[in-house]
Amino acid sequence: MPYKVSNEKLTLREQAYLPEMIRGLGVTARHFLRNLFTRRDPAPEILDREGPCQITTVQYPEEKVEYPPGYRGLHRLVPREDGSPRCVACYMCATVCPAQCIYIEAGEYPADDPSAPNRVIERYPTKFVIDELRCIVCGFCVEACPKDAIRMDTGLHAVSSEERRAFMLEREALLRGPAVEHPSDPWRKREDSSAPEHGEKEAHRRISPRKNGG
């Protein structure tokens, strides 16, 4: 809190030093006694302590402060409902990444394989590696992603390991968390990449304001 510095002359009483010393001691003594004899409020919201105990320390591993909604934790690759990654290997995250910690290799779902997870978007990452040691947790990759396929909403941080290799998170390790689908996702609009049967009629319906007045 900023306050005005005043260089007023000390009064005689203040110059005596001793009374002011004792008053100062009183402040520390008051804090000491309150903190010594009353129970610490373990609520992790450190800004809002209850009771006379004023200790604001958070005992970290046992108590954790709830992260704000925008907290950037460990990355995850967001899955679709069918478990495949939403990622289409567009390299936007790898391009924007200032630490160059993202490595992607793109692949193509085979056109004639009906078991391929989704044939509407034929492109997918065969390899998606994040070097968490190089990552500077800036969140640019999340911002850059056009498909909502990479998020930092795991709330995980301070992931530890004893070998560097463990921080090279591969696609399998990154693909986690709840699935996310949007109404605008292409696979909700069509079966596969071929032209739909009655596409013409559907397309013409949008011209009629009576049926589709959106």
Binding site: L18, P19, M21, L36, L47, D48, I55, T56
Partner: protein, 449 residues
């Protein structure tokens, strides 16, 4: 309000009970040893009082400094060291500290004077440790047919002994600074030396008043320099006393010599070289005379600082706060408890006084900013010394005027009243009202508590 009942019980019941038990045990040990051979009590007292009480107190003070300062600053302090599941709020941190010190590399810098370099920590530690020898912890009492007291030595020159050994400690500091072959260490050593010299005078002068005052209460043939005699003198009543439960105004040094107390406390504090008088250490500028020390050699410097706190508290308690005496009900308690148990009670009273005074010293350290070096010297020479001289003359005059010391006590009470008035008439509002919680404004979400 959610009170920590465990802590309250520990402080107000557990601690006195523990000290009471320890004092009784020490008496018993001393008496048994005295039964074996003459002077055995003194030997046992060296072990019980010096090696057990003072050393354990000092070691615990290293932890207390961290925990208490944490409480003063709204923190928790170290609480992680543990023995398996046993944490005890971080009690074992002093063990961890000691182990760390012991196992660290003991490094001697190239170009250092090896002999002096190794001698210095011992020279710093031993005199401080020896100081406690003359401090009376509990009165003499008859036990198992032997008269024993919890005091290692009881020489006639008790106060002079304190002055002499307190001054010796500076040799360790100065030698450490010199032998390290390090200009910063040397600076620290020189600062320590000059600071010691400045405050030595004020230290001695501040007690002259007390000695003069207590001489009036000393029976003929006794020595008012003897510390035990000083403690005994303070058990006399100035006003009141007597009756079933005796109650009144005792002749405590703090009442007779409030100015002398302040002067002695300030001067002695400067001798301990702790903040706000930590010029020789000067952590933020020169690191200090022990900059080249590591491991347990540094540990000796550090522990000697805490031993000094304990010893200083003991001396102050003896001279100004009635030593092992309670300010009320002594005769009544003695009648009900019997001599031995009453003496043990007095021993625990002494240690409680030491704890409170040690806390006061730590609180001072964590409350006040450091002095500048010129301010340290100015305080010593231009304030403490003249005030000490004034105190000597005023005390002497009042003792001569009224050998019953009531006039002196009135003068002292007037001083205390003036101080209380000055403290109470602080022009500015108190820094933080008790119910005022710290206001934190977060500009992140606009929520303020």
């Amino acid at each position: 309000m959610r009170l920590r009942w465990g802590m309250i019980l520990l402080v107000f019941v557990g601690l006195p009970a523990l000290l009471f038990g320890l004092s009784a045990g020490f008496y018993a040990l001393a008496a048994l040893a005295e039964g074996l051979f003459t002077g055995g009590a003194g030997v046992v007292n060296v072990f019980t009082l010096l090696l057990v009480m003072v050393m354990v107190f000092s070691a615990l003070l290293t932890l207390a400094e961290r925990k208490w300062s944490a409480a003063m600053q709204d923190r928790i302090g170290p609480n992680r060291a543990n023995l398996g599941p046993l944490r005890l709020g971080g009690l074992f941190h002093f063990v961890a500290d000691a182990l760390k010190m012991l196992f660290k590399e003991d490094f001697t810098p190239a170009g250092a004077d090896k002999w002096l370099f190794r001698l210095a920590p011992a020279l710093a530690f031993i005199p401080v440790f020896c100081l406690f020898a003359v401090v009376p912890v509990a009165p003499p009492v008859e036990l198992f047919g032997e008269t024993v007291s919890l005091q290692i030595a009881n020489p006639d020159f008790g106060v002079l002994y304190v002055f002499a050994f307190a001054s010796l400690a500076v040799f360790g500091t100065a030698l450490a600074g010199w032998a390290s072959n390090n200009k910063l260490a040397l600076l620290g050593g020189v600062r320590a030396t000059s600071q010691m010299i400045s405050y030595e005078v004020a230290l001695g002068l501040s007690l002259v008043g007390a000695i003069a005052a207590f001489s009036a209460l000393t029976p003929a043939g006794g020595s008012s320099l003897r510390l035990e005699q000083m403690v005994e003198s303070q058990s006399t009543w100035l006003w009141g006393g007597g009756g079933g439960f005796d109650f009144g105004v005792p002749a405590w040094g703090i009442l007779l010599q409030p100015l002398g107390f302040v002067l002695f406390f300030a001067a002695a504090f400067a001798e301990t070289k702790r903040a706000p008088f930590d010029m020789p250490e000067g952590e933020s500028e020169i690191v200090g005379y022990f900059v080249e020390y590591s491991g347990m050699r540094f540990g000796l410097f550090m522990i000697s600082e805490f031993v000094e706190i304990v010893v200083l508290s003991g001396v102050i308690a003896s001279v100004f706060f009635g030593g092992y005496h309670l300010p009320f009900g002594e005769a009544w308690l003695q009648g009900h408890l019997g001599d031995f148990w009453f003496a043990a009670l007095q021993g625990s009273v002494f240690w409680l006084k030491v704890i409170v005074l040690a806390w006061l010293q730590l609180a001072i350290r964590w409350t006040f900013p450091r002095f500048r070096y010129d301010q340290v010297q100015k305080l010593g020479w231009r304030i403490l010394l003249p005030a000490g001289l004034f105190n000597v003359f005023a005390t002497a005059a009042l003792v001569l005027l009224d050998p019953s010391l009531r006039l002196l006590a009135l003068f002292g009470l007037a001083q205390i009243a003036l101080l209380v008035y000055l403290v109470g008439s602080g022009g500015k509002p108190a820094p933080a009202a008790p119910d005022e919680r710290p206001v934190a404004v977060s500009d992140h979400d606009g929520v303020s508590a």
